[in-house]
C-alpha cells in the first residue's frame, strides 16, 4: 500500500491550520475538553495502565493470601471482594479501555482520516469511565464491603445474598457499558465513512478490520450485559423475581444471559490483539502478511461463532444432553478459524528476514502463549472433561493465558511498536528488553503451574486450600509478585518516553513497517490527514 500525497497539518501555513493550533487549551483543561483522537487515545491508555496497576495490586493481595495454606492476611469475605473487583477491573478497566485507546490513536491514522467521526462523543465516552471505576472502587469501603460474587455475579448470590453495594456495582457497570457502546459506535462510523479515497475494505490494515468486527460485537452484547445487571438490580431491590425460583424465575437463566454477553466479550478482548499481531509480525519479518483475506474471513467467522457457544461455560448447570453436544461441537469449531490465524502468522515468518526488536519479542511470546491458552480452551470444550476442569485452577490458568499473555501482551507489543511514532523518540530499549524477559519468565511461573493444581483438584475462588496444593501455590505466588514488579519497569519506560527522552526516530521508525501511519512525521502531528491521502 502506498500513498500519492501525504498531507501534514504543520507544513501548511494557511490560516485554518494556524487557527487550530492556537486554540489547544493548556494543562488540565486540554485533557478535559479535548476532542482530538490522539489526546483521547492517550487518556484511554493511561487510564487502562493505572487500572492495570490497581487490579494488579488486588491480584497481589490474592496471591499473598494463597502463598500458604491457612488464613493469614485477609478474611474470606474480603478475599472474595478482591477476586471480584480484580476481575472486573482487569476486564472492563484495563484490557477494554487499552484497546479503545489504541483504536483512537491508530484507526484514523491507518485509514487516512483526520479524526474520529464523532469527536465530542469520543470525549464523553472516555470521561465517564473514571467515574464508573471510582464508584466501583468506593463500594469496597461501604459497610459490608464491595461486590463479592465474582465478576460473573451469578444470581442468587448477587441478588438475595449480596450486600447493598450491589446497587453501586450495577450503576458502575451501566456506565462502563455506555462508554463501550459509544466508543464502538464511533469506531464503526469512522471506519465506514471516513476512509481515504482508494482505501477499500480489503486494503484496510487488519487492526482496522478486527476493530470493526469487535465494535459490532460490542454493540450487540453490551446491551445484554446492561439487561442482566438491571434484572439483578430489580430482583434485589424492587421485588421482581427473574432469577428467583420461589417467584417463578430461574437462576440458571441468569447464566444464559450473562454468558450470551460473556463469550462474545472474551472475543472483544482478543480480536483487536489479532489485529496488532498481524501488523507487527510482517514488519519484523520484512514480508507481507500471509493470507490477508483468510485472516479477515477467519476474524468474521470467529465473531459469528462466538454467539452460539456461550453455554460451554455452563456444562455443569444440568442442561439436556442435546444442548451439551451442540455447545461442545460449536465450541470446537471455533478453534478452526483461530488455528488459521496462528498458521498464517507462522507462515508470515517463514522465509522472512527476521529481527527481534522489543515489539516482535512480545508478538512472538503472544503467538506461543496465546496458542497454549487456545489449546487448553480446546480441552475445556470437551464436555465430559470439562466436568472435571470447570471452576478449578485449570480454568484460571486457561483464561490468564489468553488474557494476560494474550490480550495484555498484545497491548504491550502495540505500545512498544507505535510508541516511537507517538513520541517521536525511541523508547529505552534496554529497559524494554528487561521488561520483556522479566515478564515472560514470571508470567509462566505464575500461570503454568496453575494447570497442574487445577487438574489435581483445587477449586477456584477459594481463600484457603488443602495441603497437597501448597508447594505449587507457593511458586505461583512468587511468580505473581515477580510479574507485578516487572510491570514497574514498564511504568518507568513509559514515563521516560512521555518526557520525550530518547533518540529521535525516522518517519518509518521500523525498517519494514508499512502503512499510512508510518508515512506521516514522527512524532505524529496533532492533526493528520486534514486533506485525505489517495491510496493506489
Amino acid at each position: 500500500m502506498s500513498t500519492e500525497t501525504v498531507n501534514e497539518a504543520h507544513d501548511s501555513d494557511d490560516g485554518h491550520d494556524a487557527h487550530h493550533e492556537h486554540h489547544i487549551p493548556k494543562g488540565l483543561l486540554r485533557w478535559l475538553f479535548t476532542t482530538n483522537h490522539k489526546d483521547i487515545g492517550t487518556l484511554y491508555l493511561w487510564f487502562a495502565f493505572i487500572m492495570f496497576l490497581i487490579g494488579g495490586a488486588m491480584a497481589m493481595v490474592i496471591r499473598a493470601e494463597l502463598f500458604q495454606p491457612g488464613l493469614q492476611i485477609v478474611d474470606p469475605h474480603f478475599f472474595n471482594q478482591m477476586t471480584t473487583v480484580h476481575g472486573l477491573i482487569m476486564v472492563f478497566g484495563a484490557v477494554m479501555p487499552a484497546f479503545t485507546g489504541l483504536a483512537n490513536w491508530l484507526v484514523p491514522m491507518m485509514i487516512g482520516a483526520p479524526d474520529m467521526a464523532l469527536p465530542r462523543m469520543n470525549n464523553w465516552s472516555f470521561w465517564i469511565l473514571p467515574f464508573a471505576f471510582l464508584i466501583l472502587l468506593s463500594s469496597l469501603f461501604m459497610d459490608g464491603g464491595g461486590p463479592a460474587f465474582g465478576w460473573t455475579f451469578y444470581a442468587p448470590l448477587s441478588t438475595q445474598y449480596s450486600g447493598d453495594s450491589t446497587a453501586l456495582f450495577v450503576f458502575s457497570v451501566h456506565i462502563m457499558g455506555i462508554s463501550s457502546i459509544m466508543g464502538a459506535i464511533n469506531v464503526v462510523v469512522t471506519i465506514l465513512n471516513m476512509r481515504a479515497p482508494g482505501m477499500t475494505y480489503m486494503k484496510m490494515p487488519l487492526f482496522v478490520w478486527t476493530w470493526l468486527i469487535t465494535a459490532f460485537l460490542l454493540i450487540a452484547v453490551m446491551p445484554v450485559l446492561a439487561g442482566a445487571v438491571t434484572m439483578v438490580l430489580t430482583d434485589k431491590f424492587f421485588g421482581t423475581s427473574f432469577f428467583d425460583a420461589a417467584g417463578g424465575g430461574d437462576p440458571v437463566m441468569f447464566q444464559h444471559i450473562f454468558w450470551f454477553f460473556g463469550h462474545p466479550e472474551v472475543y472483544i478482548m482478543i480480536l483487536p490483539a489479532f489485529g496488532i499481531i498481524s501488523a507487527i509480525v510482517p514488519t519484523f519479518s520484512r514480508k507481507k502478511l500471509f493470507g490477508y483475506a483468510s485472516m479477515v474471513y477467519a476474524t468474521a467467522s470467529i465473531a459469528l461463532l462466538s454467539f452460539i457457544v456461550w453455554a460451554h461455560h455452563m456444562f455443569t448447570t444440568g442442561m439436556p444432553v442435546a444442548a451439551e453436544m451442540f455447545f461442545m461441537f460449536a465450541t470446537m469449531l471455533i478453534s478452526v478459524p483461530t488455528g488459521v490465524k496462528v498458521f498464517n502468522w507462522v507462515a508470515t515468518m517463514w522465509r522472512g528476514s527476521l529481527t527481534f526488536e522489543v515489539p516482535m519479542m512480545f508478538a512472538i511470546a503472544f503467538i506461543v502463549l496465546f496458542t497454549i491458552g487456545g489449546l487448553s480452551g480446546l480441552m475445556l470444550a470437551i464436555t465430559p472433561a470439562d466436568f472435571q476442569y470447570h471452576d478449578t485452577y485449570f480454568v484460571v490458568a486457561h483464561f490468564h493465558y489468553v488474557l494476560v499473555t494474550g490480550a495484555v501482551f498484545s497491548i504491550m507489543a502495540a505500545v512498544y511498536y507505535w510508541l516511537p511514532k507517538w513520541t517521536g523518540k525511541m523508547f529505552d530499549i534496554t529497559l524494554g528488553k528487561w521488561h520483556f524477559w522479566c515478564s515472560l519468565i514470571s508470567v509462566n511461573l505464575l500461570f503454568f503451574p496453575m494447570h497442574f493444581v487445577g487438574l489435581a483438584g483445587m477449586p477456584r475462588r477459594i481463600p484457603d486450600y488443602a495441603l497437597q496444593f501448597a508447594d505449587i501455590n507457593k511458586w505461583v505466588s512468587i511468580g505473581g509478585f515477580a510479574f507485578g514488579l516487572s510491570q514497574l519497569i514498564f511504568l518507568v519506560l513509559i514515563i521516560k518516553a512521555c518526557r520525550k527522552i530518547g533518540e529521535p526516530v525516522s518517519d518509518q521508525v521500523w525498517e519494514g513497517a508499512e502503512g499510512l501511519e508510518w508515512e506521516i512525521p514522527s512524532p505524529a502531528p496533532y492533526h493528520t490527514f486534514e486533506t485525505p491521502p489517495f491510496i493506489k
Binding site: 488464613l71 490477508y292 470437551i382 472435571q388
Partner: protein, 382 residues
C-alpha cells in the same frame, strides 16, 4: 530438526511425561486422577487423549516457528521471500484441524451420553447444598438423613494448630454409598448455587435452588473419596468439603441399618429430653458446642457478627429482651432472609441450648433459660 527446536520438544515431553508418571499414584498432585468408576476412567482417557493431541499440535506449530526464527534471521543474511498467499495450503490447514476435531468429538460424545443416563439406579440420594454445608437424604430409607459439615478445627485454619493430613477435606459425617451399585444423586440447593464435585467419580453438578439436577456413579473400589464445593457460594465457599465413603454392599446394608436404629434412638432420646429440664450449666456447655459448629461462621465467636451482612447477637434486642424469646427461637427453626433455617439440622434440645447460650454469652447475661419443651411448643404447638 535443529538444536533449538529439538530442545524445545524435549522440554515439552519431559514436562508431560512427569505429569503422566505421577498419575499412577493414588492421589496425583499434578494431573487428573483416573478415579474409581468406569466413567471416571473414560473421562481420564479422554483428557489424556486431548492433552497429547494438544502437545503434538503445539510441538509442530512452535517447531516450525522456532525453526524459522533460527534459520530466517536477517543477521544471518536471510532475504525475505515474496509469497503471501497459497490457496492450497490455506484450505489444507482448515480441513485437517476439522478432521482432527471430528476424531475428538466422537469419543467425547459417547462418554457424555453415558454420563447423563441416570436411569435404573439402585440407590437414590438427595443432596442439598446450603451455606456452607451439605445435607444427604437416602430416598429409599427416609429415616436416614444428615448434614455434613467441615470438620477441620478453626484453630488449624487460623494457623494456631498444625494442619492435619486432610486439612479442609474432612467432614463430621461423610456420605456412605455402596460399591458395585448404580447410585443416583439428586442435587439441589436451599439458598445460592453450589456445585457438588467428587473428582474420583468425575461428577460435578451444580446445586440450583428450586431445581433438581441428576448425576450418577458406580464405584468399583471401596475407599474414602474427597471433593469440594466448586461454585462460588459466598464467604465460606472454600470450606464446604465433600467426603464419600464407598463400602461393599454387605457393609453398606449394615451401616444403613445402624443409621436407622440410631435415628429411632435419637428420636426417643429427644422425647425423653422433652420431659425434663436441663440445668443452666448443661445448656451453656451444649449451647456453646452447637454455636461453634452451626452459627460461628456468620455470627462469629465473639457474637459480634459481620454487620451489616450478619448481625451481631451480642447486645441484640432479639437475644436480650424477654418478650423476644419466641422470635429468637423462630429465627433458628425457620430462618429469616439470609439466616438459614436450622429446624432440620438441630434437635430441639440443641436449639434450646444454643438459644440459652446466646442469651447468656458475651455479656448478654439475661439469665433466660430455654428448654427443649419450649422449642417443641413452637414447632408442634404442644
Amino acid at each position: 530438526m535443529n538444536r533449538i527446536s529439538t530442545l524445545l520438544t524435549g522440554v515439552m515431553l519431559a514436562f508431560s511425561n512427569s505429569a503422566i508418571a505421577t498419575t499412577a499414584a493414588e492421589r496425583s498432585d499434578l494431573n487428573l486422577r483416573p478415579g474409581v468408576s468406569d466413567i471416571s476412567l473414560e473421562v481420564y482417557d479422554l483428557h489424556m487423549l486431548m492433552f497429547w493431541i494438544c502437545v503434538v499440535i503445539g510441538v509442530l506449530v512452535f517447531g516450525v516457528m522456532f525453526y524459522s526464527m533460527v534459520m530466517h534471521r536477517k543477521s544471518t543474511g536471510a532475504k525475505p521471500a515474496n509469497f503471501h498467499e497459497n490457496v492450497k495450503v490455506e484450505v489444507l490447514w482448515t480441513i485437517i484441524p476439522f478432521v482432527i476435531l471430528i476424531a475428538m468429538a466422537w469419543p467425547a460424545a459417547t462418554t457424555l451420553i453415558a454420563m447423563e443416563d441416570t436411569s435404573e439406579a439402585d440407590v437414590t440420594i438427595l443432596v442439598t447444598g446450603s451455606q456452607w454445608k451439605w445435607h444427604y437424604k437416602y430416598q429409599d430409607n427416609p429415616d436416614v438423613e444428615f448434614f455434613s459439615l467441615l470438620a477441620t478445627q478453626q484453630e488449624q485454619i487460623n494457623n494456631k494448630f498444625t494442619k492435619g493430613e486432610n486439612y479442609l477435606l474432612e467432614v463430621d459425617r461423610p456420605l456412605v454409598i455402596p460399591t458395585g451399585k448404580k447410585v443416583r444423586f439428586l442435587i439441589t440447593s436451599d439458598d445460592v448455587i453450589h456445585s457438588w464435585w467428587v473428582p474420583d467419580f468425575a461428577i460435578k453438578k451444580d446445586a440450583n435452588p428450586g431445581f433438581i439436577n441428576e448425576a450418577w456413579t458406580n464405584v468399583n473400589e471401596p475407599g474414602i473419596y474427597r471433593g469440594q464445593c466448586a461454585e462460588l457460594c459466598g464467604k465460606d465457599h472454600g470450606f464446604m468439603p465433600i467426603v464419600v465413603i464407598a463400602k461393599g454392599p454387605a457393609e453398606y446394608s449394615t451401616w444403613l441399618q445402624e443409621q436407622e436404629t440410631a435415628a429411632i434412638r435419637a428420636n426417643e432420646e429427644e422425647q425423653r429430653l422433652l420431659a425434663m429440664n436441663m440445668s443452666m450449666d448443661e445448656l451453656m456447655t451444649q449451647g456453646k458446642k452447637v454455636y461453634d459448629t452451626a452459627c460461628v461462621a456468620c455470627h462469629q465467636a465473639n457474637g459480634g457478627g459481620l454487620p451489616p451482612m450478619f448481625p451481631a447477637l451480642k447486645g441484640s434486642k432479639i437475644a436480650m429482651e424477654k418478650q423476644n424469646i419466641p422470635v429468637h427461637i423462630d429465627y433458628i427453626i425457620n430462618g429469616k432472609n439470609n439466616m438459614p433455617a436450622f429446624g432440620k439440622q438441630l434437635t430441639m434440645s440443641e436449639i434450646a441450648a444454643v438459644v440459652t447460650y446466646e442469651r447468656n454469652a458475651w455479656g448478654n447475661n439475661t439469665g433466660d433459660m430455654v428448654q427443649a419443651k419450649d422449642v417443641n411448643l413452637m414447632i408442634n404447638g404442644k
